[in-house]
Each structure stands twice: as C-alpha cells, then as structure tokens.
C-alpha cells in the first residue's frame, strides 16, 4: 500500500495580526462600534485573529471616503487606472503563496485549490479588467458614436457597495473590485464574517500599490454591516454574491432607489450525463462539480442527472473514484476535501442530509475518517432521489450529491430546468448535436459541456431566474459598473 506521508504547506509564510481594524481611506482605523469577533480556522477551531464588525457609522465613513475619492479616481485617465490595477495583479502574483495559505487557513479549502485555482484566477481577473480601463469606449456601452468618430468613454456609476460570500473570499473580491475600479468607480467592500483575512491582506496590497486613499475601502462585519452598506444613500451601485434569500431582501430594499443592482445568488445545477458520455471524464466532472471546494460553490453540480441505461455503471465508477478522495488538513498539499467553513454551515448540511434520508433517498459515503476537531462532512451521495425531495430542490452548499435518472434528452432538460434557480448546468455527451441541443434548452447562465466548474475572467458568469441577475467576467461584466443608459 502506497500511503502518502503528510505534506503540509508551511504556514510560516503568513503573518496574521492579533487584531484588525477597518480599512478606510487608505488607513487602518478602529471601528467606532464595539463589536469584535474572532475569525477561526475551521479545520482546527483555532482563533486566527480578532475582527471588527463595522457599525453604521463606520460604513458611513467608508462611503464618504469612497465618495470623495470617486471625483479624482473617475477623472483619472483610463490608462492610469489600468496601471494601478496591473500593479495590484502583479503584487497578487508575487504574494500568491502567502495569500493561498491565508485563504486555506481562514476558509478551510484545500491548499491545492487555493494555490492552483483561486489565486491564479484572482490575479488573472485583475489583469483582465486592468486592460479594459482605457478601452471602455470600445466596449459597446457608451453613447453611440457619431459619424466617423469613436465613442466617448461611458461613465462610471459612483460608489459601489459590494458584499461577498465566504466560499471564494479573495476570488469574489477580485470579481467585484477589478471591474469596478477599471470602470472608474470606487469601492466599499464587505467580506464575509467568517473569511475576512484575505480581504484585509488585500487592503495591504492596495497600499503597496499606492492606490489612492478611499478608492478601495474594506469594512468587515456580518449581516448588519452589509445591510448598512447596501442601504447607504451614498452608494450608487450594489453588487452582492450570496444566498438567494438575502439577495431577495436587497432587491426589495433597493426598490424605488436609483441604485443599480447585480446579484449572484444560489443554484441547484443539474449535471446531465448521457449514455454516450466519455465516462471517465464524466466521473471526474461529477467529482469536480460537487466536491470542489467542499461543495461550497453556488454553481456546484449538486444534481446528477444520469441516463438510466448507464446509471449503474456510472455510479459504480463514481463510488470507486470517491473512495480515493483525501479528506483532511487543508494545508496538506494532497488534500482533496477540506473543512466545512463554519459550524453553522455544517449544521445546515447535516440537517438537509438527514432530510434526504428521512425522505427515503439512499445515502452513501466512502469510508472516510473525520478529524476530531474542526468542521467536517464526508463526501456524500444520495441515490434514489426524486425531484420532490428537499435534497433535489434546496441548495445544500456542501459535499452532497443527489442522483436522479432520466430516460430521454427531453426528460433530462425538463428535470434540469425544473427549479427556481438557473445558474449553471453540465452536459456530458460525445455527440455534438445533442450537446448543443441540450445547452440551448437549459435555462442556466453557464453551461459546461464535457467539463465542469471552469472559470475565466474573460467568460461571463451569472444566473437566470432566482440565481440572480447581471454578469461578472468578460465584456459583459463591465455593464454592471457603467452608466450606459442610452438617453
């Protein structure tokens, strides 16, 4: 037997302060409120640092700073803004290993993912949008060009209030901040309360890049801080990634304002495997679809729809494959499945899994010892799932796969679309025409065919229906940060 010895990434590379203030107007400031909370390592429950939860007054200070900075930042030539953003991208590359370790410590995700997926995508996102900053007139969102002239630069919106989730802390920050700055907006960003550390490290990066004060402000905190931010009258644009429930509240609260809103919310993606699929790659795609980042992925392929004729064969292969997954220390370079991000999330996963069992679905997990401390959940597969089961409808946001079968392409599409969500979907077939037929009928913003959970700054991402609106990434991602109403 070939046992891999522990291969932990060194955490000496990160320097975590005992406590953090807020990053407002280019300075670290003390919160005017009195809420201080520990952020913990979910793999060990060890406290990492004390974090301030910004009060309404703190949020106001941050918005004022951003408002003030907006005048000069938006007036800066695009080429100059671009250079700041390029600089940020480079610093992220230079500090990639440190940031990856910090992300894994605070979030619980395997270092292999933070190192090979999150951080490269973070840097790439800043690089991508940096290049747009001086080319906005070509993006198609400005006033229509007069005869023989190129269009004028489209205008930024102003101050963007951005609230991001805990599943990809730094990557979601990049998705929010990079396009906002490129378009000439200034930013107040609130990271999730369980994963603030990389956003705070990003504040330092802004300082290293000499970004003008107030262009990026980071206010840590929980729901109340986020609510204060999106409700602040000085905010012109709200971008939120998180649960559909909170997205709904924000949409309601913004009714009647002129704030522009983009939402990237939940999902319950179908991953459709047709009988002619490349099975070994489909198995990998299923694994990557639902067990990537412990299933803490809004676009996770949480519903496997497999054609009945190959269901047995595919499930056997999938179970064999799952037995090789390595769960444990997120900093170990060989870990595939890390820790669940928080006790609350673990409780939710447990509750829904219990519901799956009590509703009659069959539960299976590979033999998988869980560490004694920290928050853990084994990779889990439910078979015999019906569309009516809660585990087929509700977003679990954990390493739990629900398996359903179908008989015909039409039935696959019908079941795939039978959800209030519409963020992503997967299609596995070696037949090109069937792939395109299926992809064209799926009501989802991203369709991965013969692959899953691929991301790229050039590729627009976002949902249909209750998965939210607006797109992040690509040229489409600029629309959210420009005032492009054609008068």
């Amino acid at each position: 037997m070939f046992e891999y010895a522990p291969a932990p990434e060194s955490r000496d590379i990160v320097d975590i302060r005992p406590s953090y203030g807020l990053f407002i107007n280019g300075e670290w400031v003390e919160s005017q409120g009195d809420e201080r909370h520990k952020t913990i390592n979910p793999a060990t429950e060890e406290a990492l640092a004390e974090i301030s939860w910004a009060s309404e007054a703190d949020v106001d200070r941050a918005v004022q700073a951003a408002r003030k900075a907006f005048t000069t930042w938006s007036a800066l030539p695009g080429a100059e803004r671009a250079k700041y953003i390029f600089r940020i991208a480079r610093i992220i590359q230079e500090r990639a290993r440190e940031l990856a370790v910090l992300e894994s410590l605070d979030n619980g995700k395997p270092i292999r993912e933070s190192r090979d997926v999150d951080l490269p995508l973070v840097a790439a996102h800043f690089f991508y949008y940096a290049g747009w900053a001086d080319k906005l007139a070509y993006a198609g969102f400005g006033p229509r060009p007069a005869n023989g002239q190129s269009g004028a630069d489209p205008r930024p919106l102003g101050v963007a209030g951005q609230v991001i989730p805990w599943n990809f802390p730094l990557l979601m920050l990049a998705w929010k901040i990079a396009p906002a700055l490129a378009c000439g907006n200034t930013v107040v960003l609130k990271p999730a309360e369980t994963t603030p550390l990389t956003a705070l490290a990003f504040a330092e990066i802004c300082r290293q890049a000499d970004l003008p004060p107030g262009v990026v402000n980071i206010v840590t905190g929980a729901g109340a801080t986020g609510a204060a931010l999106v409700a602040h009258p000085g905010v012109d644009k709200v971008a939120f990634t998180g649960s559909t429930e909170v997205g709904r509240q924000i949409a309601r609260n913004l009714a009647g304002t002129r704030k522009k809103l983009t939402l990237e919310l939940g999902g319950k993606a179908a991953n459709i495997v047709f009988e002619d699929a490349a099975l070994d790659q489909a198995v990998e795609g299923i694994v990557n679809g639902i067990f990537f980042n412990q299933g803490h992925v809004c676009c996770a392929g949480s519903r496997l729809l497999v054609q009945e004729s190959i269901a047995g064969e595919l499930l056997d292969a999938l179970k064999r494959r799952l037995a090789t997954l390595r769960l444990g220390d997120p900093l170990d370079k060989n870990t595939d499945i890390g820790a669940i991000n928080s006790a609350a999330q673990l409780a939710k996963i447990r509750e829904l899994s219990a519901a799956g069992e009590s509703e009659g679905a069959e539960r299976w997990s590979p033999s998988c010892p869980l560490p004694d401390r920290g928050f853990w959940f084994p990779p889990t597969v439910f078979t015999g799932v019906a569309q009516s089961h809660r585990i087929a409808r509700e977003e679990i946001f954990g390493p739990v796969l629900s398996v359903l079968t179908f008989r015909t392409p039409a039935e696959a599409v019908e079941k795939a679309n039978n959800t209030p969500y519409g963020l992503s979907a997967g299609v596995w077939t070696e037949k090109g025409s069937l792939m395109l037929w299926t992809a064209s009928r799926l009501r989802a913003g991203v369709v991965w065919s013969n692959t899953f959970n691929r991301f790229d700054p050039a590729s627009p991402f976002g949902g249909y229906k209750e998965s939210g609106y607006g797109r992040e990434g690509g040229r489409h991602g600029l629309a959210a940060y420009l005032d492009w109403k054609l008068a």
Partner: protein, 320 residues
C-alpha cells in the same frame, strides 16, 4: 486462448463494433486529471518507499544499433546491483534488449531475479511479415527471453484492420510458448501500442483493449523511438483500460510506460497515477514497469539524498 471477450474477435466488424462501443475519452478532461495527479506531493517515508518501488519496476533498456555484448553485460550488472556502494538498493525488474543480444543478457543474469526482456516483431516499426515476426519471437524465447516486447501494426490499426492487429498479437502470444490457458509458463508478452503514432486517446483506449483481448500480459506505451513517448495522460488511459478489463474478466493486465521518463519526480507521478487509477494492486513489478535507462541513476541520487541529507552528484553513480 479463451477470454470472456473471445467472441468479439470473430470478425473485423465485431471487433470494430466492440472497440468503437467503448466510452470515448475527452482529451482535455484526461489531461486535466493526469495533471492534477501530477501535483500530488510525495515526501519523506512515502518518497523513500516510492523510490525503491520504482527501482524494482525499472526495465533497464538499451535499444541502439550500436549495442554490443559488452554494453549489454555492463547494463546487466547495473540492473542486478544498481548501486555497488549500497547493497540495500533493490535490483531492477528486467533488462530490455534486441533479440540478438538476449543470449548475452541471459548469461550475464543467470542466478539473479532480473528478467531478460526482448523486443521483437520487427521493432520498432513492425513493418514485416507475420512469419518473420513470429520467427523472431520464437528465437528470442528460445534464447531465453522471459519477456517479449512486441509492437503492434499501427498501419493496420489506423487503417481499421483491427482483426489483423488482433491476429498478430495472438500469433506472437502463441509463439511465446506456454501451455496454460493464458499462456502460463511461456514468455510474458508486452504489447507496445506506440501511442505517439495512434495520436488520439480514443485510439489508445481501443488499442489497449485490442491488445488485452488478444492475450497481451502487459500493454506498453512506446518504443522510445517515436515522440511523444510515454506521457502521464496516455498512461492514465491505459491504466483505466486495465482496471476496467480486470473488472470485466478478472484478469489483471500490466502497464508499462516507456521512453522519456528520466527523473524521480516523473517516476513518482506515474506511481501516483497507478495508485489512484488502477489501484494499489498494480503497484508491483508484476503489473507495472517503467521502461527507462537514465532514470535509474536519478532514483539512486534521490535515494542517497534522502539517506544522507546531502544532494548527490552524478560522478558518484555508475554510468552503464
């Protein structure tokens, strides 16, 4: 020869139907899987274990026009005792030579566990008549080769004449001798697919199954004379094939990547691939080999580094 799949080889049409009925391979997905497994970090005790295992899996190979009895004898000595200064280093699995040098190798290795493998069947191109290929195999076996590394007729394969490829492998297998149901007692047959010429992963999967159905004991990536030779994804496809074949027939077929594997790091990546694809059952020289020559010294250098804590220098290892 009987296998539960014998019926698929009754005609070109039935072979074609079977081989083209195998699930397809998506190249990008297979490449990504192999690359991900390549990121496994094998350290300390695991690395020590992996290095010794890799040494025991090496088919130490010389296949040059300039090969001489002297060169082969020196290589045999190296295979038996890779590091004269350290008797704890295990022997390599086999030496691999051209047929005319089998007798020399057999003599040099008498009384050791190191096997003699011979390439055959008009290696490396395979462009000769079946009679010549069978005769060459018989001669190699008669000279004492315990293992035969044959090449398939890639031209026939690419032309869709699967039956011809099948029949050649079966004929060579028969020429390996042995009275048992699967040729037990005869020379072990390694079937070289020359994946660099098959070009697509779908072809690699089909050729793997064809070779296994026809009675090969091992499937081997390459002759070493065509680029690309062994790659991680191609080996991944072949490991999936032997895994699935064993599930279907109960027979475990070996896999041998050959060519281009030069460093310990490379070798360990292959072992990880075996471990997580076909499974730990295949982590034995009986079912996995590494066709290589310069790899052995790198394994020895890494082994010494782990033992002494100092980086090793090439002048401290023999060049044979």
């Amino acid at each position: 020869m009987t296998t539960p799949l014998a019926e698929v080889a009754t005609s070109n049409a039935s072979l074609r139907a079977f081989l083209h009925g195998l699930p397809g391979v998506d190249r990008v997905g297979a490449d990504a899987r192999a690359a991900m497994l390549g990121t496994r970090s094998i350290k300390t005790t695991a690395k020590r274990q992996a290095i010794d295992l890799a040494v025991r899996m090496v088919d130490l190979t010389t296949l040059e026009g300039a090969d001489t009895p002297g060169k082969v004898r020196a290589m045999c000595a190296k295979a038996v005792r890779p590091d004269p200064a350290d008797p704890s280093v295990p022997s390599a699995a086999a030496v691999c030579v051209y047929p005319d040098l089998v007798a020399t190798a057999v003599q040099a290795l008498r009384g050791t566990d190191v096997k003699v493998a011979s390439v055959a069947t008009a290696f490396p191109s395979g462009r000769s008549s079946l009679e010549v290929k069978v005769a060459e195999t018989r001669l190699a076996v008669a000279a004492g080769a315990a293992e035969v590394d044959m090449v398939i007729d890639r031209g026939a394969f690419l032309a869709g004449d699967y039956l011809k490829v099948f029949e050649e492998i079966a004929a060579v297998k028969a020429a390996c001798g042995g009275a048992g149901e699967n040729g037990e007692g005869g020379a072990h047959l390694k079937v070289i697919l020359e994946t660099g010429e098959l070009a697509t992963y779908d072809n690699v999967r089909r050729a793997s199954w064809l070779a296994m159905i026809a009675g090969g004991d091992f499937i081997k990536t390459s002759t070493g004379k065509v680029s690309p030779a062994a790659t991680l994804p191609v080996t991944l496809i072949m490991l999936e094939a032997v895994r699935d074949f064993a599930r279907r027939t109960g027979r475990k077929i070996g896999v041998k990547p050959a060519g281009g594997i030069r460093t310990t790091k490379d070798a360990i990546k292959y072992l990880v691939l075996v471990n997580e694809t076909a499974g730990p059952d295949w982590l034995t020289p009986d079912l996995f080999r590494l066709g290589a020559s310069s790899l052995l010294n790198d394994l020895l250098m890494q082994r010494q580094k782990m033992a002494t804590g100092r980086y090793a220098g090439p002048d401290y290892f023999t060049l044979d």
